[in-house]
């Protein structure tokens, strides 16, 4: 029974309604004024309240995409993704686990008539049932019939499991958006630039597809010529949920930074027609993903040439969810503090765009402080909106300008030159 499944949601609502009904039913039996009976009333009301609150929390967890599964919430999972990946030949760094998500979910700005299915199956369907028969290797994507023609107009979102060749880390239920040009004959040999998009913590990558509407926004901007086509790889910033790894190479633990900065680009370049090298790669993210986007670019500037951080932070945080990610070392924690890096290490040759808002974002002072520390060859840009909290609505408003900013810094995907006329 999945944490985000409709059945579990229905069960929680039924339990909440049943508790309200039971309270109304039992009401007359607790009508005397003895102290024990009054305590009984309190207990009954409290139980009702708790069940309703639990149902509301389950609903919002699904709606905002905090935790995609029980194992993401409580840990001890990883069995399902590991077996899903292990079932396939180990030579494939990326396994596609879902292709019929609909052409581009998450936006109504697209022609809905194409194939008539913008609505997607919820991702937990694939997470819970990684049917081995459905696993298809990405090269030679089986895009037969109507889906293929739809993909040529709006592109395609794939659900993937990504196995880190060098770190051994496996990340399941991530998404890749291939632009419409990817499926057109003129681009059949073109390699596309790539944007790596990272979630916040805790979060499910489906939120980038659905709530941030990154594929839909990119398709809309590309359709009007404001940006060029690119591949978008949308990943969970935490590689070991429920732990918050802060994209750090945890001493004696998961090497999350190497996974995101090295394994992911290598896997994408081997699986898709993606550009390799820094001129073809940018990284973006919101909240924790924003911190990680800038950290990836600053520590691996030869892999990423630019980074966008939406409502990110720039110091090395620790709290209950991160645990001892810095091995208890102040010096190592400093090296993960981006402010400290700018003050003590050579500045890397990357461009970063940081976003925040004047009202509603408590990280604004930290963002401005980070901007002031940037020095050549690093380039800093800011996008500060007047008002907006720490939510998808704010980031959606900042997304078009952010995509255009990244697009100007990426090597474009060029179609093959038309064959010169003979004679």
């Amino acid at each position: 029974m999945g944490l985000t499944s409709g059945f579990f949601m229905g069960l929680m609502i039924a339990a909440a309604l049943a508790s309200v009904a039971a309270t109304v039913w039992l009401w007359p039996r607790l009508a005397s004024q003895r102290i024990a009976v009054v305590a009984g009333r309190l207990g009954l009301v409290a139980a009702t309240q708790l069940l309703v609150i639990a149902a509301v929390l389950v609903f919002f967890n699904g709606y905002l995409g905090f935790f995609g599964s029980w194992s993401a919430l409580f840990g001890g999972g990883s069995a399902a993704p590991a077996s899903a990946a292990g079932a396939v030949a180990s030579s494939r760094p990326i396994v596609v686990t879902g292709t019929d998500l609909g052409p581009v979910p998450g936006g109504s700005a697209l022609p809905e008539t194409v194939d008539g299915k913008l609505a997607a199956k919820p991702p937990h369907v694939y997470a819970l049932h990684p049917a081995p028969t459905a696993l298809a290797p990405a090269p030679g994507l089986d895009l037969s019939g109507g889906v293929a023609s739809a993909a040529r107009y709006v592109g395609k979102v794939l659900q993937v499991t990504l196995r880190g060749e060098h770190t051994g880390i496996v990340s399941a239920a991530d998404y890749v958006y291939l632009p419409p040009q990817y499926f057109r004959p003129a681009y059949a040999r073109t390699r596309f630039p790539v944007v790596l998009a990272l979630t916040g913590y805790p979060n499910d990558p489906w939120s980038i597809v659905r709530r941030l509407a990154l594929p839909a926004t990119a398709a809309r901007l590309a359709g009007t010529g404001q940006i060029g086509p690119a591949i978008y790889v949308m990943m969970n910033v935490s590689v070991a949920l429920p732990r918050d790894t802060e994209c750090t190479n945890v001493p004696a633990g998961p090497q999350a930074l190497t996974f995101l900065a090295q394994d992911v680009p290598l896997a994408v370049e081997r699986t898709f027609r993606a550009q390799s090298g820094r001129s073809g790669w940018a990284v973006m993210g919101y909240s924790t993903g924003g911190y990680c986007a800038v950290k990836l670019a600053m520590t691996d500037p030869y892999e990423f040439s630019s980074a966008v951080s939406m409502a990110g932070y720039y110091t090395a945080v620790t709290d209950r969810t991160t645990g001892n990610v810095y091995g208890g070392s102040v010096a190592f924690r400093n090296e993960n503090n981006l402010d400290w890096r700018l003050g003590h290490l050579p500045a890397p040759p990357v461009s970063v765009l940081v976003t925040s808002s004047r009202v509603g974002e408590k990280d604004l002072p930290g963002t401005l402080a980070f901007l002031r520390l940037i020095r050549p060859p690093m380039q800093g840009y800011s996008l500060i909106v007047a008002q907006g909290g720490h939510n998808y609505g704010t980031w959606q408003r900042q997304l078009p300008q952010s995509l255009e900013w990244m697009n100007r810094r990426l090597a474009p995907a060029r179609p093959q030159a038309a064959r010169p006329p003979r004679g």
Partner: protein, 362 residues
């Protein structure tokens, strides 16, 4: 009243408390039978519920700053309202100090084998400047014969040696370059670039990033490929055509890099030893976890294996690496009699591995 104002929290808290007290106090009055009392019970519970949920939402929203205002919460906030501005670079602090990643300080021709003294390539004395690590490392680069005229990118072998300048020693610049030139002339080795570095690029022979200290791993895995790629026609590491070659002084460093940074180095050849004593500082950031990360034996037993080929060559034993390595790591040993360093064979092996890395070419 603002969505995030403390007054709203106080108001909701008071309302919740009053509602709860009213329900508990007036309970008997609603206990009668009939439709009207039942509806009143439901309404009372619903009112309390709304009040509690609103309080929870406002408190969570205040701590996480999800929504800043009522208009944002109800979706009436519109417009981008922001302009991207570039940060003015503050001249002075660090600006204008761009240092070339590689500078050639001297160059000499390598004499090929045979009486005719065919051209054997050239050796350059260079200084690498790590753009990210800030390390300045002197070294040598061997370029094979025909390099200036050719256009193909060449594989790279990085030599980490403690005796680069000790002429006549097996891992000295002269012997390394002459051996490579002889093997290339004999057709046993495809042309490659040798990058020769001292075994001590920081205060010790360690090769990992010391927190707050020498960023040696960053130099080897980020700065060096960038510098070599900017100065020479070399394959990028992603082509799996970079390898390591080390003598006993550089062995620990080379093995540590092979086991932790196979995204840069596809193969390594080094002398067998037990490699149980990290040459780095004993303190290592005052963190037992970071010291553990520097322990090759621990990496072998506890970390996922990386796709790298390691050849132990020379006298001695390479346990526990021979028995402990699991795919995708491949470990082999070429046993040699004591005192014999057949450099030519080792370089040939590296050249062969670089031409066809096992199972990794796409």
């Amino acid at each position: 009243m603002g969505l995030t104002s403390p007054a709203l929290v106080a108001l909701l808290t008071v309302a919740t408390a009053l509602l709860l007290a009213a329900i508990l106090g007036w309970w008997p009055r609603l206990a009668a039978r009939g439709v009207r009392p039942v509806l009143l019970r439901v309404a009372a519970l619903a009112a309390l519920q709304m009040s509690v949920l609103s309080l929870i939402f406002v408190v969570i929203n205040n701590s996480a700053e999800f929504y800043a205002s009522w208009s944002e919460l109800f979706g009436t906030e519109a417009g981008g309202g922001g302009v991207i501005t570039g940060q003015q670079a503050t001249a002075g602090r660090g600006a204008g100090h761009a240092v070339a990643p590689v500078t050639v300080t001297a160059s000499s021709a390598v004499t090929g084998p045979g009486p005719a003294a065919a051209p054997g390539g050239q050796v350059q004395a260079v200084t690498f400047f790590g753009q990210l690590s800030g390390l300045r490392v002197p070294g040598f680069v061997y370029l094979p014969p025909g390099y200036p005229a050719a256009t193909a990118r060449l594989p790279v072998a990085v030599v980490i040696s403690g005796e680069l300048n000790a002429s006549g020693q097996p891992y000295s610049v002269g012997r390394l370059a002459a051996t490579a030139a002889r093997q290339i002339a004999a057709g046993k080795l495809r042309p490659l670039i040798l990058v020769m570095l001292p075994a001590r690029i920081g205060p010790d022979q360690g090769c990992l990033d010391v927190p707050g200290g020498t960023q040696a791993a960053m130099f080897f895995t980020e700065d060096l490929p960038q510098a070599v790629g900017s100065g020479y026609r070399a394959d990028p590491p992603a082509a799996r055509r970079w390898a390591l070659l080390a003598d006993s002084a550089g062995g620990y460093c080379a093995l540590a890099l092979a086991m932790t940074s196979s995204q840069t180095f596809a193969a390594a050849a080094l002398p067998p030893a037990d490699y149980s004593a990290p040459p780095g500082p004993a303190e290592f950031g005052a963190s037992p976890q970071i010291r553990t990360q520097d322990n090759l034996d621990w990496l072998l037993r506890r970390q996922p294996m990386q796709p790298v080929s390691v050849l132990f060559t020379g006298p001695g034993s390479a346990q526990p690496f021979l028995s402990g390595a699991r795919p995708p790591m491949h470990v082999g040993q070429a046993g040699l009699a004591a005192g014999k360093w057949r450099l030519a064979g080792v370089i040939d092996w590296l050249g062969g591995v670089l031409r066809q890395p096992p199972g990794l070419r796409s």
